[in-house]
């Protein structure tokens, strides 16, 4: 018997209610598993549903229209999609934490850093305030913020973007969560700071044994951090595999496109984004009946335009949803 995954999504469907008729579906039939201590990278262009996947796990979808429309979110076998609000509050920040893309706006501007870290500890562990502030100080040290005693009493606007992201990480890890959801934690930062933050995440992950879902645009980050990779396109999982499988033999034309769009390491333009594949992700309410990628795909056939290709195993843990990839036998 295999080890039970710490987190698993089974057929997750995330949708937005609309005034009239059927809801629009932003994440469709998404499944994934995350093992203890593992790093799973979710890649894909802007708008393909990466953030909504992470927010669905914590049930923090934009209110009042966003909702989980189907599927299960299993934390050690327990379905969070069915948990009560009170149960979810116990899980957020304690079993599963999240850090966000925008360190400039994700911290509360009118509360001190120390207070924002300490209140997480207080809510979940019920320690007295002095002990919580003590933990906050310890966390600031762990994320290698210089002069932590002074920073504890400062406000977010007194810190640089990189420092604020360290504070976010300190806050997320203060209660030793088993799962960390990191939604593009370095996209808003300078290249040199990016590398430092990623190193920090990796070190703390090794120390605490947390499993990480890292959302990113940047295949360079994936190559550096991932154990496994999940490629999303227009709300669907289109390819999944170990980092070697994906980089050695990308099977889906979309993944191949992402690889070609990736600047070669050392070529200087490290930060270029992935939007160099011609065309754009179709809008939520205008997704074609067949493969969502067909309108942008050089290999698309009539079948691709009419029938959605299923996910098909390609050997090992590798799978892809493409008629041209492993799907020829179907």
């Amino acid at each position: 018997m295999t080890e039970q995954p710490i987190l698993a999504l089974e057929g997750l469907r995330t949708e937005f209610a609309t005034g009239q008729g059927a809801p629009v579906v932003a994440v469709n039939d998404l499944s994934l598993t995350l093992k203890r201590g593992e790093t799973l990278c979710i890649v894909g262009e802007s708008g393909c549903g990466k953030s909504l996947t992470a927010l669905s796990i914590l049930r923090l979808l934009p209110r009042p229209y966003g909702r989980i429309g189907g599927g299960r979110v299993l934390l050690e076998g327990r379905d969070l999609a069915q948990a009560t609000d009170a149960e979810m509050r116990q899980i957020r920040g304690r079993a599963i934490s999240m850090i966000f893309q925008e360190p400039m706006t994700s911290l509360n501007p009118v509360l001190t850093i120390g207070r924002q870290i300490a209140e997480t500890v207080m809510v979940h562990e019920g320690l007295d305030w002095t002990a919580c502030m003590g933990r906050a100080l310890e966390m600031l040290r762990q994320v290698r913020i210089p002069e932590p005693e002074r920073r504890l009493h400062e406000y977010p606007h007194q810190l640089s973007g990189g420092m604020r992201q360290r504070v976010m990480i300190a806050m997320a890890l203060a209660c030793r969560p088993r799962v960390l959801l990191a939604d593009e934690p370095t996209t808003a930062l300078d290249v040199t700071i990016q590398a430092q933050i990623l190193d920090l995440v990796r070190d703390l992950q090794a120390e605490t044994g947390a499993a990480v879902i890292l959302i990113t645009h940047d295949l360079g980050v994936v190559a550096e951090m991932a154990d496994r990779v999940l490629v999303m396109y227009a709300g669907h999982k289109v390819e999944e595999g170990s980092v070697e499988e994906i980089f050695d033999a990308p099977a889906h034309p979309y993944t191949q496109g992402l690889m070609q769009a990736m600047p070669h390491l050392g070529s200087g333009e490290h930060r270029s984004r992935l939007n160099e594949i011609a065309g754009v992700v179709p809008a939520l309410n205008a997704r074609p009946p067949g493969c969502s990628f067909a309108p942008r795909c050089g290999l698309a056939t009539d079948r691709c335009r009419q029938e959605m290709p299923p996910l098909t195993g390609l050997g090992g843990t590798h799978m892809a949803a493409c008629w041209a990839a492993g799907g020829s036998q179907a």
Partner: protein, 313 residues
């Protein structure tokens, strides 16, 4: 911070100076000779000239102003023409009802409006939100005196629960004091409640969409903590500004309310003084009110820096 406060206090001096000049000119340039008013209907020209000399009205304007300012600074606001008593004493006698009504009105508005605005923003679009906002439009569009007379007729005359009119001092009868304040407070307070609730809802709605609110929820905080500590504290600057503006706007409403409910406060004193052209009293009231305005504004400005650490001076 200390030097900031000092600078702000200094900055109020020009404002107070301009007010003093205007108030001074009000008397000298207004139609009708104050000396003639004081002298009464049957005075001779000599009597009037005598009074002019006593009041110093025959001297050059600048000299009069300096003398008058000197008296003000030593606490002498002159005497009422009709009652022949010091203006400051008259104002002091009338301060309690007005102060009490202003404070209960603001407290009423704040205690009702902020929770209502927060809940409306939290559940924006729900029936609770729609009901609150419809009520606030209603409260906002009905004039104070209509609400006042409506309450007087409906509650006091019809049901005989609360005293209709008048005022009782807190020191004489605390219960009577409270009972007399209920109706005027509601009449005067509804407009401010409506205004403040709408501002609270609007700023909270904006704040609740901020990324840091999502962060607070992602930490597992309960909604009351998210709403009050994380959202309301961020939304507080516009809310406090509105409270300050409300205090300034209150003065006009107080005059009307005191008339409707026959409350012997500053509002009534002002109306009587205007009708009798009792210039020293009018001047005194304007000066005191202007002083309160300036003080409230100063207090509000200083509050900002306590509420938002990004505001530094």
């Amino acid at each position: 911070m200390g030097s900031y406060i000092a600078r702000r206090i200094l900055a109020t001096l020009p404002v107070l100076g301009v007010v003093a000049v205007i108030v001074f000119l009000l008397l000298r340039l207004s139609p009708g000779d104050p000396a003639a008013i004081i002298a009464g209907d049957h005075a001779t020209a000599d009597d009037i000239a005598q009074i002019r000399r006593e009041l110093g009205l025959d001297r050059p304007l600048l000299e009069q102003f300096i003398l008058w300012l000197g008296q003000l600074l030593s606490g002498d606001f002159g005497n009422s023409i009709y009652l022949d008593r010091p203006v400051l004493g008259l104002i002091a006698e009338r301060v309690e009802p007005t102060l009490a009504l202003s404070l209960t009105t603001m407290a009423f508005a704040i205690l009702l409006a902020i929770p209502a605005g927060v809940v409306a923003a939290w559940r924006a679009g729900s029936w609770v939100d729609q009901a609150f906002m419809a009520l606030s439009v209603l409260a906002f569009s009905v004039p104070v005196f209509l609400i006042g007379y409506g309450l007087v007729m409906g509650l006091s005359l019809g049901l005989d629960i609360l005293p209709v009119q008048g005022f009782v001092s807190l020191w004489d009868d605390p219960l009577g004091f409270a009972a007399h304040l209920v109706l005027p407070t509601v009449a005067l307070g509804l407009v401010y409640t409506a205004l403040l609730a709408r501002i609270t809802r609007a700023t909270m709605l904006e704040t609740l969409n901020e990324d840091f609110i999502r962060t607070a929820r992602a930490k597992g905080l309960a909604e009351p903590r998210v709403l009050i500590l994380h959202a309301l504290k961020n939304a507080s600057v516009p809310i406090v500004t509105t409270i300050g503006t409300g205090i300034a706007l209150l003065i006009g409403g107080v005059v009307v309310t005191e008339s409707v409910f026959a409350i012997p406060g500053i509002g009534r004193l002002t109306i009587d003084a205007v009708l009798q052209r009792d210039y020293p009293v009018i001047q005194g009231v304007i000066l005191v009110i202007a002083g309160i305005y300036v003080f409230v504004n100063l207090a509000i400005d200083l509050t900002y820096s306590l509420l938002d650490p990004r505001i530094r001076y």
